[in-house]
């Protein structure tokens, strides 16, 4: 029996990136905000100081910062003919936990989506014709444009101090930046990070082949920076312990380094950690959220009433909570009806190994987002007509740090053990590069999320089930991008080039980014979207769902920049309109 607490204005489910942004924005307006976070409080000095953060076994292999699968199980199958089985330990995707969420241990690769990404269905249909698209691809326009989001991308980049080189300033293409990017209103707040040998050499080869390389935009800063809220971030030391790790130098943009110091000075804010929201409560009509129910670490149940509820958990958990709370019509893939769970998408990554004889790359040097990239084969930046697929991705020599348990590249045919293995590891460790392709993943009728019929979580509730596989379009695209990447590595003078394109079926054990998207997508039509263009639930007007849950399909870029921009875009509408007159912001 839940104990009812005094009401507050706002509850955020989760205190990761979007929860922190929402809490900051709403407390700044004088509202009383409570953030309920399943995991622990985290901060740099106690959880990832330099004295013990660089521990590959603990953080990268044993996944100490991530949520335990016992606490947040997911089941996975490739298609509806299979039985979904639990992901006993994370592999393909690593799900976050705790205050700061994935913002603690992301790589800080801070991209904007391409202009065409937001009007993808209209654009591709216009350019290539409806029949060019696979029949079961469920592409949709977002309901928001790049131009509308531009000020909000800018806001996130200036919150973080993102390091980069502008490629398109107010319509004018700039040298050394990304010539394909959408126009930005002003330069990046700090200059691009320095680049190690591998990316520099790779970029030279790319230029020789006629491409236009540029430094990847990085939330690991090139220099110290103080953001508009007065929070100072330090300069990155290129330590090579970025993804999966918290940053001990205060130099990775995270809620800890950009928002929490100012948020925690506000007496109208409260964080409740180690508390798991189990349900969003609705009124008797089901059209208004009355608050949330949560369980604390001693198993006690609490009801927190609130005027507004923001779902700010990680994308998969947002969808699970909507399903368990009975909000929105669950997607039925056979009938093709319903919206919760619909249009689940992922990311299509691939790699090339470049083995060299005569180069010292010092690949242990890295930051999560340094690297030189080309965008020539992303989005619709090239004519897809001759190739028969849609989508693309950036291709880049990104050097995040080659830590030896995870990264000891050896040529094909090398034994897995013994002296020959040791010799190959030693000979190749410092002189091998592993550039990557970061390809899009569009949505399909048979890729979706729902509730598992068999497996239960620790509360006895159904676990979230993922039905997903790569389709021919994405695999063709991956082959194409990987081939292009290989030509660049050949151009560098590699002794041996090994292509590793993405192949199907989708495996739960091979790491392929945590860019799980969709499931409660935004759009203009309530029959094919769960949220309107302000991320407001069509069904429950005082419920807003943040995160990559809103993406109708995933683009060829890392998602966090767009997640943040959408959050700020939504908050702007909430302050401008909703708070003055609560109700639907869009009438369908």
């Amino acid at each position: 029996m839940a104990t009812k607490l005094p009401p507050v204005d706002v509850v955020t489910v989760g205190l990761g990136w979007t929860g922190s942004m929402v809490a900051e924005s709403m407390t700044a307006a004088g509202l009383r905000v409570v953030s309920i976070e399943r995991g622990p409080w985290r901060d740099t000095a106690t959880d990832f100081p330099p004295s013990y953060s660089p521990d590959e076994l603990r953080y990268a292999v044993r996944l100490d910062l991530f949520v335990r699968t016992a606490q947040a199980p997911i089941t996975v199958r490739n298609n509806a003919h299979q039985t979904a089985l639990p992901v006993r330990q994370w592999g393909a995707f690593l799900l976050p936990n705790g205050v700061g969420g994935a913002g603690v241990h992301w790589n800080a690769e801070t991209w904007r989506f391409s202009s065409t990404d937001f009007v993808l269905k209209t654009h591709l249909t216009q350019r290539y014709g409806k029949n060019f698209l696979p029949e079961d691809m469920t592409l949709q326009d977002w309901g928001v444009t790049y131009d509308e989001l531009e000020p909000h991308y800018d806001q996130f980049e200036y919150l973080c101090g993102t390091s980069g080189t502008a490629g398109n300033l107010r319509g004018e293409i700039q040298p050394f930046g990304n010539p394909f990017e959408g126009p930005r209103s002003r330069p990046y707040p700090t200059p691009a990070q320095k680049q190690p040998y591998g990316p520099v050499l790779w970029a030279e080869a790319a230029k020789e082949l006629g491409y236009q390389p540029f430094p990847q935009p990085s939330g690991n800063l090139s220099q110290a920076y103080t953001n508009p809220d007065g929070v100072t971030i330090g300069p990155c030391t290129y330590c090579g312990f970025c993804e999966r790790f918290g940053c001990g130098n205060y130099s990775k943009a995270s809620p800890q380094t950009t928002i929490l110091p100012s948020l925690m000075r506000r007496s109208n804010f409260e964080a409740r950690t180690e508390c798991e929201v189990t349900r969003i409560n609705l009124d008797s009509k089901g059209s208004r959220a009355t608050g949330v129910t949560y369980v604390d670490s001693q198993g006690r149940e609490w009801e927190q009433p609130a005027e507004m509820v923001f779902l700010c958990a990680f994308q998969l958990f947002n969808v699970q909570l909507l399903l368990l709370s009975g909000i929105g019509q669950p997607y039925d893939p056979r009938a093709g009806k319903g919206v919760i769970g619909r249009n689940y998408s992922y990311q299509t990554t691939s790699f090339v190994h470049g083995f060299f004889d005569d180069k010292i790359f010092n690949t242990f040097i890295g930051s999560g987002a340094i690297g030189m990239c080309i965008d020539d084969y992303n989005a619709d930046n090239f004519d897809h007509g001759p190739y028969g697929f849609v989508g693309g991705g950036y291709i880049g020599m990104v050097q995040t740090g080659a830590r030896p348990i995870e990264v000891t590249p050896v040529p094909p045919g090398t034994p897995q053990w013994g002296s020959a293995w040791k010799e190959a590891v030693k000979d190749n460790y410092l002189s091998t590069i592993i550039p990557a392709c970061h390809g899009s993943c569009y949505s399909y009728r048979d890729c979706y999320l729902d509730l598992d019929p068999t497996y239960k979580d620790r509360f006895g509730r159904p676990v979230l089930r993922m039905t997903f596989d790569f389709h021919k379009n994405e695999l063709q695209m991956s082959q194409f991008l990987t081939d292009k990447l290989a030509t660049i590595v050949h151009q560098m003078g590699a002794r041996e080039v090994v292509k590793l394109p993405r192949t199907g079926p989708f495996s739960i054990s091979l790491y392929q980014t945590t860019h799980t998207c969709g499931g409660a997508i935004m759009g203009t039509d309530p029959t094919t979207s769960a949220l309107n263009r302000y991320l407001q639930s069509w069904d429950v007007h005082n419920l807003f769902v943040m995160g990559a849950t809103a993406f109708p399909q995933n683009a060829g870029y890392n998602p966090t920049g767009t997640v943040a921009a959408l959050t700020y875009w939504s908050l702007e509408a909430i302050h401008r309109q909703y708070l003055k007159s609560p109700g639907p912001l869009v009438h369908a």
Binding site: P40, W41, A45, T46, P49, P50, Y52, P54, E56, V61, D64, L65, R68, T69, A70, Q71, P73, N78, L85, V87, R88, Q89, K194, P196, Y197, L201, T237, Y238, C239, N249, P261, M264, R265, R266, N268, F269, R272, T273, E274, D296, S297, Q298, G299, I360, N362, F364, I370, P404, I405, T408, W417, G418, S419, K422, K426, Y429, T454, R458, P505, I508
Partner: protein, 264 residues
């Protein structure tokens, strides 16, 4: 280290969470009800952090790792330990580059890992049913999808290996075999050509190889990579954590010896 002035977390600290009985994962049983099992931090308890006084701070609130100490085996029996020492010595033989796996501490590493939360699959979802996975549904630690913790895989597989060797090689345990025979056995485990009774050798070999490499390349505080021999072999500087002066020194060998979290 300069201490900041302390700001208490909250004036009314919550009661300490009852961590419940010591964790025991039952392979085919239901999860224990205690919610504290699954939480990341050692002193996991619901916390209320009120804004208004800035970031919360408590002395000694960090969670540094515990350094493995030399001493008796915590998980392996003496026979199991002898087999594992011999196995890691074949996977990582002594040569001009490094000592063998045993002298690098790989068996000690594995012993300590299996005796701890990793060995117990602590925090992992180990509820049934355990159904046969497609290749794509196999887990990173391959025994888990079949309901076996790493500790159970080793215990069971080492016993089966021992039985096999004694039966096949005139009563000799694995550790007593000549090196070339050991290598044949290891290859057999690797390729699946060697069948052990009631044992998934592919699962065992994959786990053993993974753990041996972990022990070889992990920070020495975990018992392996003794004297940072593996890091010295490949030129990995360990926990150096600052390469600002080196990122733009292209094609230049980094000259400094590696450092461990436990010290240089």
């Amino acid at each position: 280290m300069k201490m900041k002035t302390a700001t208490p977390v909250d004036s009314s600290p919550p009661a300490k969470a009852d961590l419940g009985p010591a964790l025991s994962i039952t392979r085919r049983g239901a999860l224990l009800a205690s919610t504290a099992l699954f939480l990341a931090a050692p002193a996991a308890q619901a916390e209320i952090l009120s804004g208004g006084s800035g970031l919360p701070w408590r002395p000694f609130a960090g969670d540094p790792p515990e350094e493995v100490k030399p001493g008796p085996w915590l998980f392996f029996t003496p026979q199991e330990a002898a087999a594992v020492e011999a196995l890691v010595d074949r996977l990582i033989p002594a040569d001009s580059e490094t000592p063998g796996g045993k002298d690098c501490g790989c068996a000690v590493f594995i012993d300590r890992q299996l005796a701890g939360p990793y060995g117990n699959a602590s925090g992992l979802y180990m509820s049934g049913p355990f159904l046969s996975p497609t290749p794509e549904q196999r887990t990173v630690e391959p025994g888990l999808q079949h309901g076996y913790t790493p500790a159970e895989v080793y215990r069971h597989s080492l016993a089966a290996l021992d039985s096999h060797c004694r039966a096949t090689y005139g009563g000799l345990s694995f550790a007593k075999l000549p090196d070339s025979t050991k290598d044949s056995v290891v290859s057999g485990l690797e390729t699946g050509s060697l069948a052990l009774e009631n044992t998934d050798t592919a699962v065992f070999f994959a786990l053993l190889l993974q753990n041996t490499r972990e022990g070889f390349f992990a920070d020495p505080i975990y018992g392996g990579n003794r004297d940072m021999a593996a890091w010295k072999m490949i030129g990995f500087p360990g926990a150096h954590y600052d390469y600002r002066d080196w990122v733009e020194r292209h094609n230049e060998r980094y000259p400094h010896p590696p450092v461990s979290i436990g010290g240089p």
